[in-house]
């Protein structure tokens, strides 16, 4: 053998990604796992049967919402969640919660919690288990009846997150008090007059039909006021001053989660509003109506939590919320 010809086996790809993904991302270039796992997964045509439970619509049907989009994949999730990286993120966050429980337990912060802090925390947090449960049901609804994987997949994750929060709240109650505290919370949720405006609001969301209006009502308007009020004004600012740092540690998942999700929620609303004046008008009307209702519903809850400072705190939360909406490009 004379000259040595090193033949490098060039294993060249024929394409960078799937055609339907390429079409969406502006050409055949390498696509992310998020893009490949999201774009085009939901069928759009040629359905063989109408739902027996809703023959007026197709199985997947954009007309279930008044929002109109030429391409429902504009509702991108800035977090780029698909199942794997979502669950890995949540597991990591859960490890932090476990670490907090260990810390609080080992330092005796639970046993040294004053009755005042314990009762104050449970009075507010236990009924919220049921609010989170409704958040779980509503996001499951959007996953079932929304249009396009871009919105329905993250709503599935969001539904599970709400359930996770409901379970964290339950765990909190069991950690700081007797199991009877859960029943007491449910009793307040059902019967205490100060919770009824919120419960009525929540039950009204449970029977809504438009998945995108439900998204606004639940994920933006209600949670957008509830989470800052409860975990910001009440737990972080008020309870910790009274020696309730343990409460903040054991509920740390909730505010962190809310901030993370707000980026996604805002992006969805912004993309809808940017498409057309009609969409923008719908979004504006929905946000205004549901934020006003949510604020009114939270007024008595703010009083339970913060007494005479409740209304001031709630007003501040609403101001911040309005600024958030303005940043999305919507004027209330």
């Amino acid at each position: 053998m004379s000259s040595i010809d090193l033949q490098t086996k060039e294993i060249k790809p024929a394409r960078n990604t799937f055609t339907h993904v390429a079409r969406h991302i502006g050409g055949d270039k390498p696509a992310s796992r998020y893009q490949e796992a999201t774009i085009g997964l939901q069928p759009t045509q040629n359905f063989h049967y109408r739902p027996t439970w809703d023959p007026a619509h197709e199985i997947f049907d954009a007309s279930r919402s008044a929002i109109k989009l030429a391409d429902w994949y504009v509702l991108k999730d800035p977090r780029q969640y698909y199942y794997a990286n979502w669950t890995i993120t949540r597991a990591r966050q859960h490890e932090a919660v476990e670490a907090n429980y260990s810390f609080v337990d080992s330092r005796g912060l639970l046993s040294r919690m004053t009755d005042e802090v314990r009762e104050s925390a449970c009075k507010v947090l236990m009924p919220l288990r049921h609010v989170a449960w409704a958040g779980n049901m509503n996001n499951t609804y959007i996953c079932a009846y929304g249009y396009g994987t871009a919105i329905t997949a993250p709503c599935n994750f969001h539904a599970m997150d709400h359930l996770g929060i409901a379970q964290y709240l339950t765990r909190f109650g069991l950690a700081v008090d007797d199991p009877g505290v859960l029943d007491a919370g449910k009793n307040d949720w059902l019967n205490d007059p100060r919770w009824q405006v919120l419960r009525r609001l929540v039950e009204d969301t449970l029977v809504m039909k438009d998945p995108m209006e439900m998204f606004v009502a639940q994920n933006l308007a209600l949670d957008g006021l509830l989470y800052p009020l409860i975990y910001g004004s009440f737990v972080d600012e008020h309870l910790t001053l009274k020696g309730g740092t343990a409460v903040a540690m054991l509920t740390s998942f909730m505010p962190e989660w809310h901030d993370e999700c707000a980026r996604w929620v805002d992006a969805v609303v912004k993309a809808c509003a940017a498409e057309s004046d009609e969409n923008k008008q719908l979004m504006t009307t929905w946000i205004q109506a549901w934020a006003d209702r949510a604020q009114a519903a939270l007024a008595p809850v703010a009083e339970i939590a913060l007494g005479e400072h409740g209304q001031e705190a709630l007003a501040e939360v609403r101001t911040t919320f309005n600024a958030r909406i303005a940043k999305i490009g919507i004027t209330l």
């Binding site: 090193l6 055609t19 069928p43 439970w53 669950t87 859960l182």
Partner: protein, 513 residues
Amino acid sequence: MDKRVEKKKLDLGSRYLALTQDLQWTTSYQPMDKVFPYARYEGIRVHDWSQWQDPFKMTLDVWWRQQSDKERRLYAVLDAFAQNNGQIGVSDARYVNAVKLMLQVFSPLKYALHRALAHSARNLPGDALRIATQIQASEQLRHAQQTVHAASVYNKYFNGMHEVPRWYEQAWYLAPVKSFADDLASAGPFELMVAISFGFETLLSDTLFVPFMSAAAHNGDLSMVPAGFSSQSDTTRHKQAGITLVKFLLQQDSLNIATVQRWVDKWFWRSFRLMPMVAMLQDYMVPKRVGSWKESWDTYVEAPVEALFAELAAYGLKKPAGWQAACAAKDHLSHQAWNAFYGYGHALAFHTWVPGNDELEWLDRKYPNSFDRWYRPRLSYYAQCEAAGKRFHNHALPMQCQVCQQPMIFTEPGDGRWIAYRETQHEDESFHFCSDQCQTIFANEPDKYVQAQLASHAILQTSGSETTENALQASIADLGVVIGRDNGEFHGSEDDTNFTLWGGGQDMKEAQL
């Protein structure tokens, strides 16, 4: 102040109950009938929802942690596969056609299950069941997405995977899958649960995700296999939920028995009618074979189902109506499917081929009752045609069953000479079926099945007076499938020549220096 110092750690069962129960409440500002509008229309009666619990007692914290462990392992393997050109490590590029079929069939099917289960998860009134169903809905999305991810590398290097969503929606040969998925999605929340968890996952999913995956591992697929095995671990929970749900419904009210039996009959059969593709994956599409489809059926279907129904008899449930026919088909299913696909090879989005001589011998050994008599002669004929330069093409439009939408390729149970045809007159139209069971399914819900749009009919309606000879192929070409490159004969295809060029295969030759 110290009254709650001693907190005993709750055991698994107590913890599950504490974290699952009592989040739900009876609404009063809106009626429960409006909150759960589909709870009653199927006629199922439940008197005490607290009698159903998740056998795995899953809570979110455990679920996140466990699933995260699975995903970190799986994606590390997928990353390594991508980085190391794992796609050239498979036994033989013919195997990649199995990957194509999995992507075309199982990713869309899992997605359909995900959305359909979200519907059940929102509408079933029992809170523990809803939680388990939501977990299931999430996991079906997981499976759909990880199948896409596992196939992603293959798509870069091989043909026939580039536009699956469009093919799934409209390709004639994927219609059995779409019609199955749409049938599920259009069903009510109770039927859906029985259909998926019990019908498909319990009775039939193991055959794809266990023995076939093992065979795929033997062929060097380090991408689809870990994804497949990992997804089946989720499915074990779905199966248990399904079995316990069926028992629960049967026990709650004797009036449920007839309805549940009808669903079990229907969904066993509809699931069974998806099995031809799984059967041929195992017998024809894995070059290095492990076991036969028949052996998989015996181990993963026949024996477990006999055991399960022996137990369910006490609850008033009988084996599915099509059970005998399905078992009788085990000597025939894979061969009938491969024959059909081979003949329509020009109208698919994957390659087909005639197995080599030692493969034919293996098939004969595994199917002593049927292969030599019914199927070898056809394969020999195809080989002859190929040798003469005229590959066999079936140019006829396939007649499709109105219910399962499979082409009519199945023979009468117990008599391989006759294709099984059934016909029903309904409101002045004739409807055609592949079996007694599909005919019965139609008879129970004619208003549903008359809606179906059969691909062959659509072609006949649009082709007018033109010959339909190439219509099937044209219908595939219209969907962006490149005739000859993405389908037809494997030997000599771009996939084949590329793979050789790359030095692919498990017996890779050393580069000559």
